[in-house]
């Protein structure tokens, strides 16, 4: 009986949460957003980066990609050096459990 009331309570809470959403679901569609970087207050590398964004998303993507991958790989290599220096075994895991 307790399980039954728990289920009823759960369904009640769900209905309370969802009813207002059902009512508000049929809203107007949003217009597409075009974002432009404001490079007026920027200088040097930052200005160049913002201008690249405004001029070509393609080159912006390629450079972002290269930066993220390079940063990821070099930070991984750096962490390896630090962990080895501490003395942690990075080649094996002895714990065997499902």
């Amino acid at each position: 009986m307790r399980k039954f009331w728990a289920k009823i309570m759960g369904l009640g809470v769900m209905a309370l949460l969802l009813l207002p959403e059902i009512a508000g679901a049929a809203g107007p569609a949003e217009a597409p957003v075009i974002i432009v970087a404001d490079s007026r207050n920027l200088t040097g590398l930052m200005k160049w980066w913002a201008n690249l964004y405004n001029e070509s998303h393609f080159y912006f993507t390629i450079l972002t990609y290269i930066c993220i991958l390079t940063a990821g790989l070099s930070l991984a290599a750096l962490a390896d050096v630090v962990m080895k220096h501490i003395g942690i075994d990075l080649r094996s895991r002895e714990l065997a459990e499902h």
Partner: protein, 357 residues
């Protein structure tokens, strides 16, 4: 204190950069430990730091790509990544994700997208919670029964064993996944990855939250290998996601790089911590995170439904507070384990020297 803020060149907002490092560190720890991108935590976190929502998702995915490279490399060295399984699952994930994304377009056309997504998300989180905690309870019962019989439970014993039934389906080609220590039909991981990819496509998430428990309960992959293999999948989707979101102009590289500085350390801590925590310890902590995520979504739904700001704030506090606590728990475990390992190494070296003399 102006030096603590940095101007983002694309979005034009000034951001408290130590906040980005701390956020990166926290999600790095969780990602490395549970094998997921933790986008459900980063996006609200970035939003709190002042990021416009349009940039929060793209920036999150860009940093996730870098972070998962680091964590996958580490798990790979521990032998936690089943690359064969990972590559097979990519097929199902991509197709499933596209089907899910198309369904979202259809839901949008009929004007019910928000409702369906939220309901599905809650149902899914409830199901994952049920799986994790039922599994833990069943495994504990096995341990109690074994102790009562004066025996010790098998280290590879599990609570929920649905995967054993699924392994009986022998549709060719049958494949031996060496790292996962399983033999099953190739169609099983393809089907499971299709389902998880489909759900991820509908929910607009990376999918680690669903894929990790699915690998454990449906494919029968040991917890540590599930974490590593899932991270491999997160890495692939992160690399793809970075390209698409950046091409749409939704990535703030500077923020992603600052986050990556924290995430690089965090991912290492999380991945190394899996060395010292048993499989069921990882499952339990994961279950707690899923419950926290569900509570946060319910609070958010109340806030939206009745326009109550308090519940909105409470939702964010719950998600960030809980994940912060779990990250701290993982960090402490890593420190304890590393200390123990180093002490054992020193003791072994000392005994060797004394034996030589």
């Amino acid at each position: 204190m102006d030096w603590l803020y940095v101007l983002m060149p694309i979005s034009g907002v000034k951001i408290f950069w130590p906040g980005l490092v701390i956020l990166g560190l926290g999600v790095g720890i969780l990602g490395g430990f549970f094998g997921m991108g933790a986008a459900w935590m980063v996006t609200p976190g970035l939003n709190i730091l002042g990021f416009p929502m349009a940039f929060a998702i793209g920036t999150d995915i860009a940093h996730m790509a870098g972070k998962s490279i680091i964590a996958t490399a580490r798990h790979g060295k521990f032998g936690n990544v089943d690359y064969r399984l990972g590559f097979i699952m990519i097929i199902g994930t991509i197709i499933g994700f596209e089907v899910g994304a198309q369904m979202i377009m259809w839901f949008e056309r009929i004007g019910k997208v928000e409702l369906y997504v939220r309901v599905l998300y809650l149902v899914l989180l409830a199901f994952i919670t049920y799986m994790v905690f039922t599994d833990i309870a069943k495994r504990r019962k096995k341990e109690r029964d074994a102790r009562a019989a004066g025996k010790e439970v098998d280290k590879l014993a599990t609570g929920i064993e649905w995967y054993k039934t699924l392994h009986k389906i022998k549709i060719p080609p049958m494949i031996h996944f060496k790292q996962s220590m399983i033999v099953c039909s190739a169609w099983l991981p393809i089907f499971v990855s299709f389902l998880t990819g489909w759900l991820a496509g509908i929910l607009g998430i990376g999918g680690g939250l669903i894929r990790m428990p699915s690998l454990i309960y449906f494919v029968g992959v040991p917890t540590h290998v599930a974490v590593g293999t899932d991270l491999f999948e997160v890495m692939i989707s992160g690399i793809y996601g970075t390209a698409t979101y950046t091409y749409k102009g939704r990535t703030e590289l500077l923020a992603a790089l600052i986050m990556l500085c924290g995430a690089a350390i965090g991912a290492q801590i999380g991945a190394v911590a899996t060395k010292y925590v048993k499989g069921y310890g990882i499952r339990y902590a994961f279950g707690v995170c899923v419950v926290g995520c569900a509570v946060s979504i319910i609070l958010k739904m109340i806030a939206r439904a009745y326009n109550l700001i308090f519940f909105d704030v409470a939702s964010t506090v719950v998600i960030l507070g809980l994940t912060g606590s779990v990250a701290f728990y993982i960090f402490i475990n890593m420190i304890r384990g590393a200390r123990k390992e180093l002490a054992m190494k020193r003791a072994a070296a000392a005994s060797q020297i004394s034996a030589g003399q």
